[in-house]
Point group: C2
Chain length 222, copies 2
DNA sequence: AACCCTAGTTATTGAGTAATAACTTACTTC
DNA sequence: GAAGTAAGTTATTACTCAATAACTAGGGTT
């Protein structure tokens, strides 16, 4: 295993794929803050320690970079859902997902904020079809777990969007979700449960938040 | 009543207040599309038929213009809620608000989209306190009607945020709300009803959508 | 050692954009 | 009708930013 060589400026030299991954990771944080129009490619490049023009050899243009970043964000959410629902079904699985998503408020609010950024960026006709695709993918995943129960689907996504807004404007989470938390901070009862209980085995969910695997580099040794 | 005189370029001459109103109305549409960073002051100025520098005599800077526009958007929503709940209380009032908000999807989706734009713009520390104030104002209004019932509050705002996203990425409204519509297109049953029924008089709501008065010019003769 | 491929750089351009300054035109009022 | 005030303009600045072009350097392979 050759030691990674470094360029003149001290930057470690990587394969294009590795660099792309690094860029996307940094871009999540920046785009989550500034959105598509409020984030410069120079800022992202600076964050990963690479020159601004080099970004355009890794990505066709800014939109491609943005889309790759948003896709990564959605994938991480999907992976979180997949992880926390492993071995669960029906009510318990839904409960676990809702719980996990709310926990992202504390653990990785960038994932929530970049979703909102994606939605507003969807005004661009070039971006919109891709962003709808990401949404649909998430919808499919959840739909499979809820059994397409329309009430549960609506409530689940509605509450998710409220989480996103809470993250964006930094509202205290307890304002809208606090009453469903027990003293250990875990979600114990909610309307999703109410509806979900009808479609699967009941009981108190054993939902715990798993640190989501990174979908950009499936087998990466960080 | 003197006929409005026109300037050399054919633009009608207005009082500063009237012009500010006109600017804000145009700005709603533009900011709803492009957001704070994606909308140029020149575009807005062009839309109202005024030179770009003149905007800065009507508003301190771009942020002030944006905030005035967002405030206007929130006020219109509040006014819609006030109008449709007139004479109603409890379950019926909540139902009417939920109904009215969903109807904005078809009637004035800019009001929903500019909300999302406000939320993402709240990353700016100068804007955030104002935007939270707008949110809190809306929260108070709804809270007064729900009697602060936490479950209803959460469900109501959650569904509202889902509406916003549906407007932004142009999802078919039926996907998440369609099952609660009867053949005449009106909302007939939803979870909000379920929860709301507990806090007020039951029955089928007679909610209808009122065209909201314009809060920018309270007594304007358009 | 000559070649080639890939990672990366510097320099530059051209367009867009918020904001300022200084000027002009119209209405009002004495 | 002169003077003041309020509405609006043109011209300009200082800056940011995406994207291109052209160049450099490292590491294999033959």
């Amino acid at each position: 295993m050759a030691a990674p060589s470094s360029t003149r400026a001290g930057t470690v030299r990587m394969s294009a794929d590795e660099r792309r991954t690094a860029v996307i990771r940094a871009a999540v944080a920046e785009f989550a803050k500034g959105g598509f129009n409020g984030t410069s490619t120079a800022t992202i490049a600076g964050l990963v320690g690479v020159s601004q023009p080099y970004l355009f050899r890794l990505f066709d243009d800014k939109k491609a970079l943005f889309l790759a970043t948003v896709e990564y964000g959605f994938q991480r959410v999907e992976q979180t859902f997949s992880t926390v629902t492993e071995g669960l079904q029906g009510h318990e699985a839904i409960h676990a997902m809702a719980h996990a998503y709310q926990d992202l408020l504390d653990e990785d609010s960038d994932l929530l904020r970049i979703q909102l950024q994606a939605y507003v960026a969807a005004h661009d006709p070039e971006l919109k079809p891709h962003i709808r695709k990401f949404w649909d993918s998430l919808d499919s995943l959840v739909r499979g777990i809820t059994g397409s129960d329309p009430e549960v689907m609506t409530t689940f996504f509605a509450r998710g969007m409220l989480c996103n807004v809470i993250a964006a404007i930094d509202l205290p989470r307890e304002r809208y979700f606090g009453d469903f938390l027990s003293e250990d901070g875990r979600l114990v009862e909610c309307e999703i449960c109410e509806a979900a209980r009808q479609i699967g085995p009941g009981g108190t969910a054993a939902g715990s938040t798993a640190a989501p695997e990174d979908p950009v580099t499936p087998g990466a040794t960080d």
